[in-house]
Subunit: 243 residues, 2 copies
DNA sequence: CAGTGGTCTAGACCACCCA
DNA sequence: GGGTGGTCTAGACCACTGC
């Protein structure tokens, strides 16, 4: 049953169960088979099944009741957003039911700003690769994202990089490394002139801003950036479950 | 070594390791003992140690490198906020280095608003218990929080309830149930007059707003509410780590 | 190569819920 | 009491890293 290589058994089990819930093979509100039954059916250990159910429970897709069973959450058929999904702008737009697209506005090399010098631990006057993009939802601008990467990390000439890539894939492809973690600051602000024009905002309605710094496994800064959301358009909805 | 009752071994191990990092017994940037060594030292299985390290890694406190070891994250000495910590306003203020306090502004029973009727799945004209509070950071108002609970859920006369309690303890104490999960919407908005006055805002600077609905294990709505942050004062900082 | 973290299993016991 | 999820253990093998 579970035979793919290179993908963990627990991860495959998660996908299978999520799919069964999505297709309502396990109907909303109904009780799933017990962990032992699922383990036997999929030919894996109960620990692997528990790992899979744990991930689904963390996303709110299922509710577990000790001594009773595991139930499909009937309230969450159309509300999937996790914290890690927050920075996946394309997925965010897609899940809102709109067609996502990326428009690259600028892809340049410039001196690092003061804030970038500190955040990226750079030497004075060290250049960064600056990527400015707009994420469109059904052709309507929804997010403006600016990202700066130390030029020294790029393994390719900047003009050859594909600015359409999601930022984690961009890093993986052109910096030959992986994002281990990120630190995010969320605040609210009134858009400046250019941002207001880019997002085609009529009034001065406030925006959500996400500023982020990503680090690799060696704890070296990879990227810092700032993204402004038109949250009227997208809506940031999270699920948080306890123990 | 690990002898407390009623608290899981993995949870106790998490506390022990977190404490060792906090007190720099494991210095910033240094490598922790291997999982097997920790398991032997604490007298628990490697699985329990891995569970503990997994939680610390999710919060960014340690970085794990396959084939190498687990390292104390030197960058995160003073940046602890997880998604679940976002709704713990007292802790949020405390971690920002200020003295937290709660001021109860209103503790009343009133008819449910239209939005509350739907969110809490109430019958027409059903009353709710409404709690309006301000969270102070060093005596400066930082957050205005409004919460509505179906009156039918309260096991005590509303005037006898202690409005100073954190909302999850309030629910546990007076509704005899527990929050299983919550759905949160984040947006940005300009404060209305009363809010602006309560938070003592001089200009019309935008606020972060968190709207939430909590559910219990039976998937019944427990509470809905809205909290406005003065994020200039507090700052919302999150850590997200991958795989 | 030896040692590390990553994955998985089989089996055990407990706390809890419901009939 | 029987079945469920919650916890924990011991042991195994793998993938990867650094020397």
């Amino acid at each position: 049953m579970l035979v793919e290589r290179r993908r963990s058994v627990a991860s495959q089990a998660t996908s299978i169960l999520a799919e069964r819930i999505r297709t309502q093979l396990y109907a909303p509100g109904s009780r799933l088979p017990s962990e032992s039954e699922l383990a036997a059916e999929l030919g894996v250990s109960r620990a692997s099944i528990r790992s899979a159910l744990g991930r689904l429970a963390a996303e709110g897709m299922v509710l577990r009741k000790q001594g009773d069973g595991t139930y499909v959450n009937a309230r969450l058929q159309h509300i999937p957003t996790t914290l890690s999904g927050l920075w996946d702008f394309l997925g965010l737009i897609e899940r809102s039911g709109r067609a996502p697209a990326i428009q690259v506005l600028a892809q340049t090399v410039r001196a690092a700003s003061e804030h970038e010098l500190e955040a990226l631990a750079l030497e004075e006057d060290e250049p960064v690769f600056h990527l400015r993009r707009v994420f469109l939802a059904d052709d309507t601008p929804a997010i403006v994202a600016d990202n700066a990467i130390p030029l020294a990390l790029l393994q390719q000439p900047p003009e050859l990089c594909d600015g359409q890539l999601p930022i984690n894939e961009f890093i993986a492809r052109y910096c030959q490394t992986q994002i281990a973690y990120g630190i995010f600051d969320i605040d609210a602000l009134l858009p400046d002139g250019p941002t207001q024009a880019l997002l085609r905002l009529e009034d001065q309605s406030p925006l959500l801003r996400l500023r982020q710094v990503f680090y690799d496994r060696q704890n070296e800064p990879l990227l810092c950036g700032s993204s402004s959301y038109n949250e009227k358009l997208l809506g940031l909805r999270l699920v948080q479950s306890w123990s």
